[in-house]
């Protein structure tokens, strides 16, 4: 296994570190399937996640947040950039090493109906991973019962099939499967988006309790800012394949810096809030195969300046926060 030579210092190091990650999908046309273009789904993303921390990744559909999660899991191949999980380079792992890593890196998808095998009983679903890695403690049945109890399901339902459960219960099964191997890191891709509010709250609470119990790290991918703000320690906002702002949750929600983050937050309908001071964005998200030059947000940005259509903004540190916007490059103006 490829181990980084430099051993960790006593300062806490991030569990997951991504540097300038790019995942592009080729667009093929014509008789010989020539690659004519690329959809730049993830286009230069850097971020870190620490142990026991939840990073919320928010953005609208097509911004590349799901592709980022899938690239981390090895379900999509990255074109360039680096991903380190506890100093192991995810981008250069052999399939065999990647399989070993599944013990530590797990995922919960949005739709349990399509991520749980309809022909498998719950006992087989939740113990498949631990059976694979020979980690069953006691009998398989007892282990499955323990797992179900942990996620708040009746232990006697182990011989039932996924379709016999409601949406919220099915998501609990997905969670039981994800935590079975005692992973350190779980990617939650829109894990509560398909659920009703009262059930959604149950699942969010379950994820928070499991995190406290096992010191889990989450990458919580969602389009729903309100949900993310209730579970994440930090939030990264994505737009068209790139991160535009990342900061502590309270900073992002109470004092968003990037014009896109501001528009996104003001667009969320909140009971009690008057919709009048809303920043309405013009137009729509441009295509990820031909992103606008300069700052990708500039055609829709209410604060666009001249520099925005020619130069892509660098990462600006602004009061200890990170924002990719020219507005914060010269705070004196």
């Amino acid at each position: 296994m490829a181990q980084n030579a430099e051993k960790s210092k006593t300062v806490e190091k991030p569990l997951l570190r991504i540097k300038d990650l790019k995942t592009w999908f080729p667009v093929k046309r014509g008789l010989f399937s020539r690659t004519v273009d690329f959809v730049r789904a993830v286009d230069g993303v850097s971020l870190e996640i620490y142990r026991g921390e939840t990073l919320g990744l928010v953005g609208e559909s097509g911004c590349g947040k799901t592709t980022l999660g899938r690239t981390l899991l090895g379900l999509e191949k990255s074109n360039s950039g680096e991903m380190f999980f506890d100093d192991m380079p995810l981008h250069a792992l052999t399939p065999r090493a990647m399989k070993q890593l599944r013990k530590r890196l797990q995922v919960i998808f949005q739709d349990p109906m399509s991520s749980l095998n309809p022909r498998m009983t719950v006992i087989d679903i939740v113990t498949e991973g631990i059976a694979q890695f020979k980690k069953i403690e006691g009998s398989k049945e007892a282990h499955a019962r323990r797992l179900l109890k942990e996620v708040g399901l009746a232990a006697d339902s182990i011989y039932r099939f996924p379709h016999e459960f409601s949406g919220g219960q099915r998501q609990r099964i997905s969670i039981a499967r994800a935590i079975a191997l005692r992973p350190e890191f779980i990617i939650c891709d829109e894990a509560v988006s398909a659920l009703d509010v009262s059930i959604q709250a149950q699942i969010i609470n379950l994820l928070i309790s499991l995190q406290q119990r096992y010191r889990l790290s989450y990458l919580f991918i969602s389009h729903d800012l309100s949900v993310v703000s209730n579970i994440a320690d930090r939030i990264a906002v994505m737009y068209l394949g790139q991160i535009v702002e990342s900061a502590k949750t309270s900073d992002i929600i109470q004092n968003p810096l990037h014009p896109y983050t501001r528009a996104l937050i003001s667009a969320v309908p909140v009971p009690g809030k008057k919709g009048l001071q809303r920043t309405l964005l013009k137009g729509e998200i441009p295509s990820a195969s031909s992103p606008p030059p300069g700052c990708r947000f500039h055609p829709r940005c209410p604060d666009a300046m001249e520099i925005c259509n020619c130069a892509a903004p660098d990462r600006e540190k602004f009061h200890g926060r990170e924002v990719w916007c020219h507005l914060y490059a010269h705070p004196a103006d």
């Binding site: 609208e60 559909s61 409601s166 949406g167 919220g168 219960q169 009703d196 509010v197 009262s198 059930i199 959604q200 709250a201 149950q202 969010i204 609470n205 928070i208 389009h223 729903d224 800012l225 309100s226 949900v227 703000s229 209730n230 579970i231 994440a232 320690d233 949750t249 309270s250 900073d251 992002i252 929600i253 109470q254 528009a263 996104l264 937050i265 003001s266 667009a267 969320v268 309908p269 909140v270 009971p271 009690g272 809030k273 919709g275 809303r278 309405l280 964005l281 729509e284």
Partner: protein, 334 residues
């Protein structure tokens, strides 16, 4: 023609639904989708029908236009009156005249509501010609004008586009144009923005607000409490096939009375930037094949009493226009 006048209705009442029950016969038994649903909509009023999936809100809306396929569906009601006409006993020819002209619908999935095989212009023209006597050319121009009004750039060109060539937000704008262009008296919007991103949702609601005529009423069906807060003056809350509470926006949000409404409002994740556990409602929604005899919320209710198990709670008045179906309110209602 069998137009039954409902004389007891107040002047400005546009729609009255009384004691609506909808059930579906399936192989597994009969599913009760809606039960004892009664409400009304006044002229120019925006009413929100909220509840979680399976609570019967969409079925209620579809019943208003008799769009429930029968069999397996079955509508039973004391009556559905629209503008003084009895919808349930109306011949289907007359109903077709109402659909799309007097009452129009905006559905959640524009791509499944629009025909994939026909160009936008032709689909819009079809609706216009069905309800208005005008030359085809004029109808085409009328449709093109409306595409411009709902903010579609290059409207003349987009008339020739197929639905799949447009983004979700654009498709929903076309649905809105089709729903509004014939100046309906009532718009039924069934989760119109659920498939859209928040910034697009904001654009769409802005558009509906700007385009809707003053005296046009709207019934907005949604699961999102934030959306009803923004769009509606009066709110109806449904749970497991029944209405549990109805009142003005302020009644529901500032002074909710039914334990389910209270629980629902507490369970919403708040956008405050403070992290922490949410107040969930424990338990599951009961199955529509096997609703309990008494209050449908009884099993999840923190205030459940013996009476709740056996009896269906009636509505108690909590203020002008504010009613909730819960036995807890029996004492102070008097």
């Amino acid at each position: 023609m069998t137009v039954k006048k409902n004389d007891s209705e107040p002047e400005n009442r546009l729609l009255t639904v009384r004691n609506l029950a909808v059930s579906f016969a399936t192989d597994d038994g009969t599913a009760k989708a809606a039960d004892s649903v009664s409400f009304h909509i006044e002229k120019g009023e925006n009413v929100g029908l909220v509840g979680e999936s399976g609570c019967g809100k969409s079925v209620t809306a579809l019943s208003i236009l008799r769009l429930i396929p029968s069999p397996p569906g079955r509508i039973d009601a004391d009556g559905i009156w629209f503008d003084g006409q009895d919808i349930l006993s109306m011949p289907s020819k007359q109903l077709q005249d109402i659909r799309g002209r007097a009452i129009s619908m905006i559905f959640q999935e524009p791509l499944s509501a629009l025909s994939p095989l026909h160009r936008i212009g032709r689909q819009m023209m079809e609706t216009i010609l069905l309800h208005r006597k005008m030359p085809a050319k004029a109808a085409w121009q009328f449709a093109e004008q409306w595409l411009g009004k709902v903010g579609i750039p290059d409207a003349a060109e987009r008339m020739y586009a197929y639905p799949f060539q447009l983004s979700g937000g654009m498709q929903q704008r076309i649905m809105i144009a089709m729903a509004l262009m014939l100046a309906p008296q009532l718009i039924i919007a069934d989760e119109p923005t659920t498939a859209l991103d928040v910034t697009t949702q904001a654009q769409v609601f802005d558009l509906i607000r700007a385009m809707k005529a003053e005296d046009t009423s709207m019934l907005l069906i949604t699961h999102d409490m934030g959306v009803v807060w923004e769009m509606c003056e009066r709110i109806i809350v449904m749970y497991a096939s029944r209405i549990v509470e109805t009142g003005s926006r302020e009644d529901i949000f500032s002074n909710p009375k039914h334990p389910y409404t209270i629980g629902l409002l507490n369970a919403i994740p708040k956008l405050t930037g403070e992290r922490g556990k949410l107040n969930d409602i424990p338990g599951q929604v009961p199955s529509p094949f096997d609703y309990p005899r008494g209050c449908h919320f009884e099993k999840r209710c923190p205030f459940s009493m013996e009476k709740c198990v056996h009896e269906q709670p009636p509505f108690y008045d909590c203020g002008p226009g504010h009613r909730a179906a819960c036995f807890l309110l029996a004492d102070n209602a008097g």
